[in-house]
């Protein structure tokens, strides 16, 4: 690839005195001073959250209020600042035991989280979602380490695309009542 050498235009005499450029600069700032401010007054005025915004990662439940997370720990593995810590556990409720696994605890250290969204991207169950919460704070370090309950509370409910709860259950029941297929 050819290298093209660009030479800076030599300064004119007026420019070299600095005075005129400085004056024009002063004019620009002065004009800005007269204009109305462009900022939002945050706590009263809230910014509009764009689509795909990466806020605080939260855990979501399916419309039937069942945990989507199966504690596969992929988010824990992929998390660059190691903000996630999952204690895996088994589902004891016999009705849903076919899903087998759910987190006993899901610890999300918001002091560490960098909002990269890799956890959301890696999640095979679409259980962790970065929603629109952008101001997460607390008075103690312990409080800002979010646990399972808090995360589900923040996350709410999202539609389930996996049907692991119902479709599997139906099939299992059919199989149990005899008959292959």
């Amino acid at each position: 690839m050819a290298i093209k050498v660009l030479h800076r235009k030599p300064l004119t005499l007026a420019e070299r005195t600095y005075i005129l450029p400085i004056l024009s600069g002063l004019r620009i700032t002065l004009r800005n001073m007269i204009k109305a401010p462009v900022t939002l007054e945050y706590p009263e005025e809230k910014p509009a959250i764009p689509k795909g915004y990466r806020g605080v990662p939260t855990l979501v439940k399916d419309p039937n209020g069942r945990e989507k997370c199966v504690s596969c720990q992929l988010c824990e593995f992929v998390c660059p600042p190691k903000a996630i810590r999952i204690t895996p556990g088994e589902i004891v409720d016999p009705a849903n035991a076919h899903v087998e696994k759910a987190p006993k605890d899901f610890e999300l250290n918001m002091l560490r989280c960098i909002y990269c969204g890799l956890c959301e991207e890696v999640c095979p169950e679409q259980a962790i979602v970065l929603q629109d919460i952008y101001s997460m704070n607390s008075e103690t370090r312990e409080e800002i380490v979010l646990h399972k309950d808090k995360l589900y509370e923040l996350g709410g409910t999202l539609p389930d695309a996996h049907f692991k709860w119902d479709k599997k259950k139906k099939a299992a029941d059919e199989a149990a009542h005899g008959g292959h297929h």
């Binding site: 199966v70 596969c72 992929l74 593995f77 895996p88 076919h98 087998e100 599997k168 099939a171 292959h180």
Partner: protein, 561 residues
């Protein structure tokens, strides 16, 4: 494997020539050439079944004219390779001279893709839940050789999940790919036929024979064998994903067999122990009872704090107190343990030499139980040979501690130092111990440790490094997998510090390297060995000097010997 060079034959894997002994199957030959042939049912230590079909490769032989028995030569003057029209399974085909193998051709690729598709037809794909995820061959081969998408639109089969086929093993029938490794293991290795196939077609599945469960002491090996997540361990199930775990090579302390193990830990917590392949010791197997030994790390009676007369102290104070006790003693008895590492035994020997007392006795407490003629030997001390090699005890018979009780009773012994051994095994009770200055060093409390004047916590095999000499006089080393309890010195460091306090001679410092420098100079059998130079699979030591010792094993227990 003894291979004399003249018997070797040439095999060509993707054009790479390798020399293998006749009878080697194509998977091993390819492995030798650095080419991996994917396989599920084949296992190097089990018989060949050939039912997974994953290892299909193309093979060809040098052309020979049937009539003239003359080689068919091509235009370039070389023998023409006659390729078989169909692929063959690499596991069940043995190498012949001049055999050619293709592992990357279109046919092979198509075969693998097809096999993968069939295997995945009824596979539940519940990797997020499955414990095998991360070390699952199905996952690996699906990414390496699979199609990448599914054409199967029908409902998948539903089979039972969570079937308890034994107290320690759970079967998930949906995930099973019917490779039969577990069936063959039970039949061939464990000699306890429990498992078999049942049902037909896509409903074919593994099951226990009626009235039987998989409850032998080697049942967990089927979990290791299972290439997918069908067989899982109750103990490890849902505890931790394997990709988080750190692997540390270690040695099983269950018996003098010295089974090679891998300790899997994360952030100072051990999650499981699996066998490590060492064909000279344990092949790829280990006992179920050895796998739960990690639980002693966090056991309830674990000793974690130094104490003098029941008062908690820092390590340095305990060192000083022990040195003080030893220097004042008139007669000292040491209860050494066959669970200590070679290095610790050596340092202990130095410590014994440095004690100024008039009467000194060293006892090695034998722990003998019934062996199972497989991987658990009768001598349950992992390092009895180490005590002999380091010279800590002169002979096994003389080291038995029956003589201890009379010596205590007559008063010629006023100080007792027991290391990982309970004084009770030598018949000493409360009255005797009360008379003595009793120093108890141990990983765990025992029934007599409460009478100790000085209590010293020791580290388990998972928390320190060192080496053992097993029943075959094989020197094997283990590494530290997890840190010990806070504030606890390593066993070596503690003995070394006491030795230094007493002014005795010893290695330049307490590191394994330094101790080995000293041992290599002192002990003829160890000459030329450094800690770093002990290979992963161990190193045989000349044990002929101890041939006359009454070892508990009776015979060399390597199961294949």
């Amino acid at each position: 494997m003894a291979e004399s060079a003249d018997k070797l034959i040439s095999v060509f894997v993707d054009g790479i020539e390798v020399k293998v002994s006749p009878g080697t199957n194509m998977i091993e030959a390819a492995h030798k050439a650095g080419v991996e042939v994917p396989h599920y049912c084949y296992h190097s230590h089990l018989s060949v079944a050939g039912n997974c079909r994953m290892c299909l490769v193309e093979m060809g032989t040098p052309g020979v004219d049937r009539n003239t028995r003359q080689p068919i030569l091509g235009p370039d003057g070389k023998q023409v390779i006659q390729w078989m029209p169909k692929p063959t399974i690499a596991c069940a085909t043995n190498a012949t001279p001049g055999l050619h193998i293709r592992t990357t051709s279109k046919i092979v690729k198509d075969c693998r893709e097809g096999i993968m598709e069939f295997l995945l037809v009824n596979h539940p794909l519940d990797c997020p839940i499955c414990d095998q995820a991360g070390e699952c061959h199905l996952q690996e081969y699906a990414t390496d050789y699979g199609r990448g998408y599914s054409r199967y639109v029908e409902d998948k089969n539903v089979k039972p999940k969570r079937t308890m086929i034994g107290p320690r093993v759970i079967l998930d029938n949906e995930r099973c790919i019917l490779c039969g490794r577990c069936v063959r293991f039970c039949k061939e290795i464990a000699k306890d036929e429990v498992l078999g196939f049942t049902e037909r077609g896509s409903h074919s599945t593994i099951a226990c024979f009626p009235g039987k469960t998989l409850d032998n002491n080697y049942s967990l090996n089927v979990v290791d064998l299972c290439p997918v997540g069908a067989l899982t361990s109750t103990d490890f199930r849902f505890k931790m994903r394997v990709w988080f775990l750190k692997e540390t090579p270690s040695i099983c302390t269950e018996s003098s067999t010295g089974v090679n193990t891998t300790v899997w830990s994360r952030e100072g917590v051990i999650y499981r122990i699996t066998p490590r392949r060492n064909d000279a010791v344990n092949d790829t197997w280990m006992s179920d009872s050895g796998r739960v030994l990690y639980k002693q790390v966090a056991a309830e009676n674990r000793s974690t704090a130094y104490a003098i007369e029941g008062r908690p102290v820092q390590a340095a104070e305990a060192v000083a107190a022990l040195a003080d006790t030893l220097s004042k003693a008139k007669g000292v008895a040491f209860l050494a343990s066959g669970k200590s590492s070679v290095e610790e035994m050596y340092l202990l020997k130095k410590l014994v030499a440095a004690v100024p007392a008039g009467t000194k006795a060293v006892h090695l407490v034998p722990h003998v139980d019934k062996g199972d003629d497989f991987l658990i030997s009768a001598d349950r001390n992992p390092n009895t040979r180490g005590a002999l090699l380091t010279g800590l005890v002169k002979g096994l018979e003389s080291a038995k501690c029956e003589s201890l009780l009379p010596m205590v009773q007559e008063g010629s012994i006023d100080t007792l130092v027991s290391l990982n051994e309970c004084a009770g095994v030598c018949g000493l009770g409360r009255e005797e111990l009360k008379k003595l200055q009793y120093v108890y060093l141990g990983t765990h409390y025992c029934e007599t440790s409460q009478y100790a004047n000085i209590e010293v916590p020791l580290l388990t095999v998972f928390e320190k490094d060192g080496s053992f000499v097993n029943q075959q006089f094989r020197l094997q080393k283990f590494s530290q997998a997890v840190p010990g309890p806070e504030g606890v010195m390593s066993d070596r460091a503690f003995i070394f510090a006491t030795l230094a306090k007493l002014g005795g001679k010893g290695p330049r410092n307490a590191s394994a390297e330094a101790v080995w420098e000293s041992m290599a100079a002192d002990i003829p059998q160890f000459a030329g060995i450094s800690f770093a130079s002990i290979p992963a699979e161990g190193r045989p030591i000349d044990g002929s000097a101890f041939a006359s010792q009454p070892f508990a094993e009776g015979k060399n227990l390597h199961f294949s010997a």
